[in-house]
Symmetry: C2
Subunit: 243 residues, 2 copies
């Protein structure tokens, strides 16, 4: 784990014009751990890409393996057809953690964690990498589950396209604090405070057509009712990485 | 409210190559009500824009007035400097509503609501429109609150830039149902079901420096503990529209 090890990735992503934070430097960082923690707490990301000068912002499920990001969709989708040759993309994850009501309009804010990742998105066409992605898209979220499923058919494999992108640059941005008013405003008789926001899991709704006696699988324990989705996804990522 | 009224906006956004759904047509629509409902339930969006061929995907707070979308940031921000001349943008909102575990990898899915809006983003430089935005950025989320705040200073107004974009095309996409397995897979002894996901508000954390006797304002009632953020934001939008 020493950063002196020749093969260890450096602690920070390289900083270029693409990912350099242009404002609120106090909220930002470039280190891998911060970026990965924000990514691993999410299932949904937004990917920006360009077709003929027109930007598109597409929401999609994604997952991370080291510095690789993967997402998937039908080979018919607009984005994927255009990505075949490899195209610059920006994948962003954001978590809204709180509403911040201040004593002035200017100091109203939100608590959040976000990560922006830059790279070149490419279709995964290597058969081994694609087979691994077919398992990962299930097992990253539900560790061990792919072994228990009905095996993939050849037709399903053909109809599935995965996109892979190595993170070339990235940045993380976090606001996680209370009201930050101008010093003289604290004396005003105006209410200020934070409303926390949390994304939580509800009671599982089993499929009404379950075969009698089929018990909930162990991976469902990660997503028990009342837990944060964040926590469940982060724990699932760790379990997935440990194999 | 009749669609025969000459001045009423048509029920659907025009369909062009930009917003035409390329897959899962069964989940999509182009009607204003569906798109607006998804937007109005959110505070956070992701905006895609392009600088020198490089796509950026930026998370930001936003709000809607009719078919106009607004978001804001420091005039120093990368996005805004490049948007001054007006630039194509795509603003997307997504809500994750559930994890869908099926009997095959292929039928794993998520419940979600998303809206993609296309248009030309421009700096709001008309003084009246900017003054209105200064109030709206507070009042859309906290109806009536801007009147109770310490007034904006000239320096704050100068340091604030708003972006406006009229929605030229848009689409909505929704998955809101249970497991959809292949018919023959329902006979398999594999667990399947849905884990609902909800974004909820926590107990308010008042600023520790509140002046004695300052009571929580009425607009905070929209964001009471245990309520969905969705619901609070949707109700706030209605209150804001009713003035």
């Amino acid at each position: 784990m020493s950063s002196m090890h020749a093969l260890a990735p450096s602690a920070e992503y390289p900083i270029t014009d693409r990912n350099r934070l242009k404002r609120r430097h106090d909220r930002g960082s470039y280190d891998r751990c911060s970026v990965h923690a924000i990514l691993d707490a999410a299932m949904l990301c937004h990917v920006a890409y360009v077709i003929d000068g027109q930007p598109f912002c597409t929401p999609t499920l994604f997952w991370r393996e080291g510095d690789m990001l993967y997402w998937h969709g039908s080979s018919a989708s607009r984005m994927l057809r255009h990505l075949k040759a490899g195209t610059p993309a920006c994948l962003t994850v954001s978590h809204l953690d709180g509403l911040v009501l201040a004593r002035s309009a200017f100091n109203h804010s939100a608590n959040y964690r976000s990560a922006m990742c830059f790279g070149t998105a490419r279709i995964v066409d290597d058969p081994e990498e694609k087979a691994a992605a077919m398992r990962a898209v299930v097992d990253r979220f539900y560790p061990g589950r792919s072994d228990a499923l009905r095996p993939l058919t050849g037709q399903e494999a053909k109809a599935t396209t995965f996109i892979g992108m190595e993170i070339e640059q990235a940045s993380a941005k976090v606001r996680a604090k209370g009201v930050a008013d101008d010093e003289e405003d604290y004396a005003l008789p105006i209410w200020a405070g934070v409303v926390p926001v949390r994304t939580v899991l509800g009671e599982v709704e089993p499929c009404p057509r379950l075969i009698d006696g089929v018990a909930p699988p162990p991976e469902l324990g990660l997503y028990r009712a009342g837990r944060s989705l964040d926590e469940g996804l982060t724990e699932a990522q760790h379990a997935y990485e440990e194999g």
